[in-house]
């Protein structure tokens, strides 16, 4: 400490709130006897203008350089007293508040004598800490009002569009050759007659035409540095081999010799190595699948506009953004081969594949053709991959599969009235506003609902497929011959999450999704500032919920961008380099990735990024050498309070 501590103690009566229980006069007399206390005052309301004048006067006239206010909880008036100190020219972090109202007067009004003694002890502890306080400066980061959105599905599109419409620049990165995500592949949208593509076309168009949005398809996020306000990201744009000159004449598709399963149709159809991802693909040009393409060059020969360049190289993209929005979605639960006959018979399909079959623009032009013909008996098995119904199943409910299954069952009964549908379910959860209606409609149709407790089994024989189930209501075993078995698979964490987590510091929930800052109160924020989570990256969501999450992240990011500077409370962790041995224990402690190891000469040293540090102090408690300290909560400062619990040690 450069100058000797001169502590001013200011004890508040809070009317009779404190003074009614505590003998304030006695407490003030006592405070005057404490080491380093230059003066001690009392006032009826310390937070009032005259009360604050006492503090300002103490600083200006009496030269006090530490302030102890014994009054209410710091959550009430800490900002008030800090402001008063700053006005008088004293660093506002040289304040220690002693909570003698909530923690003493109000809870011990039945024992006034002891309450007064306790209050003296609390002030003694507060003074002991105040002596060791140091001036702190708020840390400020200039805000870059630009966002990087990772993932071009419903969540990412909604977030991008909302931000762009507010005038903020957006860099949208999509791994696939088109934006649109998985929702564009839905055959029909519930409560409507339109397909996922039709639903989202206006959104895709709006994103493409908005001048504030720069879209990078075929691109992946490789590296992120920095923190809230100023992230520096590196992305890689993989070659598409086809440029904007493409006129979609499809000559290339005709000559391309390579045929592979079309992922857009979940493997139900084939496409060439050069292809248009789907009819409304944005950008609306061909793409070449770099894995499938054998670079034979046939397409180049027939391409009249000269849009194809097989020599195209990957490109590095650098983006500076104040906030990151992660919207990488989900992966459908992929049943292991043999689970419910999946992969053993072409009569066993997932719900996602059924969506494609019922899409008028799908591989069968909307005709429900399973194994070549329209099925007569269809068995839906619900909760596949969910509610722990099999060994591989996730423990949670995916929320959307019930409504989605019911929607498709109803559609099938409308299109093919002769079809018999069995719905085998563990639970039906149509929780959303209009979805219960689907269940009502389905029960009114001829759909046979069978409740199971024991998971059904699917037998794939030479003659055909049958499903065995024990009806939990009738307590009877049923064997249902099936022309089609639809597995209502749920949502699993996206396959891309490990890549995302290797680039951006975000944590995992026990289910494998990305964890929110608070599951109820901060559902679209990551724990680290400036990182937002949109859509199914945090948990299964339907299209409606995903849109809401997308908009929510845009709102959160706008709040950030509306500030010119981002202020960080200065009570962050800091390293005393000379004491640090570079053991890196602190790095593992930090949930925010704020600590890194740097090389100084030939040694390792820990380094704290103050913009990332949230000031929990976990690293400080773990540091074996005392090199890591938290401003305002240093070991010496907390220990001074501890030592001062007893009178006899004071001043030693």
């Amino acid at each position: 400490m450069s100058e000797e501590a001169k502590v001013g103690v200011f004890v508040c009566h809070c009317g009779m709130n404190i003074a009614g229980t505590i003998n304030v006069k006695e407490v003030v007399e006592y405070a005057r006897t404490l080491p380093h206390v230059a003066n001690a005052n009392e006032y009826v309301f310390m937070c009032s203008a005259p009360g604050q004048d006492l503090i300002r006067g103490g600083i200006k006239k009496n030269g006090i350089n530490r302030v102890v206010v014994a009054a209410c909880s710091p959550s009430m008036h800490e900002p008030t007293f800090r402001a008063a100190m700053a006005e008088a020219g004293l660093n506002p972090y040289l304040l220690e508040m002693v909570n003698i109202r909530e923690h003493s007067a109000w809870v011990h009004s039945h024992e006034k004598k002891r309450a007064t003694e306790k209050t003296k002890a609390l002030i003694r502890m507060g003074v002991a800490k105040a002596v060791l306080l140091e001036p702190l400066e708020e840390f400020r980061i200039r805000m870059q009002p630009t966002s990087l959105v990772l993932g071009g599905g419903v969540a990412g599109l909604r977030a991008s569009l909302d931000l762009a419409e507010r005038g903020y620049k957006v860099h949208l990165i999509e791994k696939l050759p088109t934006i649109g995500g998985r929702a564009v592949r839905l055959g029909t949208i519930a409560h409507s007659e339109i397909s996922g593509t039709d639903l989202l076309k206006p959104v895709l168009d709006a994103v493409e035409s908005n001048p504030n949005i720069v879209t990078y398809v075929n691109s992946e996020l490789e590296h992120v540095d920095g923190s809230v306000g100023y992230f520096k990201a590196k992305a890689r744009r993989n070659p598409r081999y086809v440029n904007a000159k493409c006129t979609l004449c499809e000559e290339c598709i005709r000559v391309c010799p390579v045929e592979v399963a079309d992922e857009y149709d979940y493997g139900l159809s084939k496409r060439k190595a050069i292809y248009l991802p789907f009819k409304e693909a944005h950008p609306h040009i061909m793409a070449i699948d770099p894995v499938a393409c054998n670079k034979c060059g046939e397409c180049v020969k027939v391409c009249e506009p000269g849009a194809i360049n097989l020599e195209e190289q990957p490109q590095d993209i650098e983006i500076v953004a104040g906030g990151l929005i992660l919207a990488t979605g989900y992966s459908p639960y992929d049943p292991p081969i043999g689970e419910f006959g999946y992969g053993r018979s072409d009569k066993v399909l997932t719900l996602f594949q059924l969506e494609r079959l019922l899409d008028p623009e799908g591989p069968t032009n909307g005709k429900l053709a399973v194994s070549g013909s329209v099925p007569k008996n269809i068995v839906f098995i619900m909760c596949v991959g969910s509610l722990g119904i099999t060994e591989n199943a996730h423990p949670y409910c995916s929320r959307m599969c019930c409504a989605s299954s019911l929607k498709n069952m109803i559609r099938i009964t409308q299109l093919y009235p002769d079809t018999t549908i069995y719905a085998l379910y563990k639970d039906i959860r149509t929780y959303a506003r209009r979805d219960e209606k689907l269940y009502e409609l389905a029960t009114e149709s001829k759909i046979k609902f069978v409740n199971f407790e024991k998971t059904p089994t699917v037998n794939v024989g030479q003659v055909g497929v049958s499903v065995q189930v024990r009806d939990a209501t009738l307590q009877e075993n049923l064997v249902i011959p099936a022309d089609a078995v639809i597995l209502a698979v749920g949502m699993a964490p996206s396959e891309d999450l490990s890549k995302v987590r290797s680039v951006v510091k975000v944590g995992c929930s026990p289910e494998g999704f990305i964890r929110e800052a608070h599951v109820k109160l901060r559902p679209v924020e990551a724990p680290a500032d400036g990182i937002f989570l949109a859509g199914a990256i945090t948990s299964p969501k339907n299209v409606l919920e995903t849109s809401m999450a997308g908009s929510a992240t845009a709102a959160k990011a706008s709040t950030l961008f509306s500030q010119e500077e981002y202020r960080v409370e200065p009570i962050t962790a800091q390293v005393t380099e000379e004491l640090c041995s570079g053991c890196a224990i602190c790095i593992a402690m930090c949930p925010y990735g704020a600590i890194s190891r740097k090389t100084v000469g030939e040694k390792y040293r820990a380094e704290v990024d103050r913009a990332l540090c949230k000031a929990c102090g976990a690293c400080v408690a773990a540091c074996p050498s005392g090199a890591m300290q938290q401003a305002g909560f240093k070991d010496t400062q907390v220990l001074a309070q501890v030592v001062a619990i007893s009178e006899r040690r004071t001043g030693s």
């Binding site: 003493s104 306790k118 609390l122 502890m125 929990c616 976990a618």
Partner: protein, 141 residues
């Protein structure tokens, strides 16, 4: 043990949950014995076991470390760090001859003022039964 013994108990309260619960006890005028001296830390994960040892060395008869419930930590998992450290430290304390009941780790959310009062009453009774710690430490010093 003499009737007049009033244990001195130090509370390390996390800023977000337990400190707020203590504030709520105040605004709700919930009474509890005045044996508790509160030290605020931002997170229970900040509590260095040496703070607890120093508290005993300086005359505390008991220590309460309190933070947010598991899953509710403002800093994601600081309370788990506290759990590990305090569990380990209690084992060590027993080797020193300090009863492990003198240290308690509790999860007290911002709304659980009555729960704090209940723990406070319990702790005072428990530590009264154990008797003061300081004289024993003086003898052994």
């Amino acid at each position: 043990m003499s009737e007049s013994f009033e244990p001195k108990i130090v509370v390390f309260a996390c800023n977000w949950c337990t400190y707020a619960a203590l504030d709520l006890a105040g605004t709700s005028r919930i009474k509890y014995p005045p044996n508790f001296l509160v030290i605020k830390v931002m997170c229970s994960g900040r509590v260095d076991p040496q703070f607890v040892l120093e508290a005993f060395r300086n005359g505390a008869d008991g220590v309460l470390v309190a933070g947010c419930h598991p899953g509710d930590c403002h800093y994601i998992e600081g309370n788990y760090k506290a759990l590990r450290r305090i569990t380990l430290m209690k084992r060590m304390l027993e080797k020193f001859g300090i009863e492990k009941e003198r240290v308690r780790l509790e999860w007290i959310s911002a709304s659980e003022a009555t729960r704090f009062a209940q723990i406070a009453n319990e702790m005072v009774e428990q530590i009264k039964a154990l008797g003061p710690l300081a004289p024993r430490l003086e003898v052994s010093a």
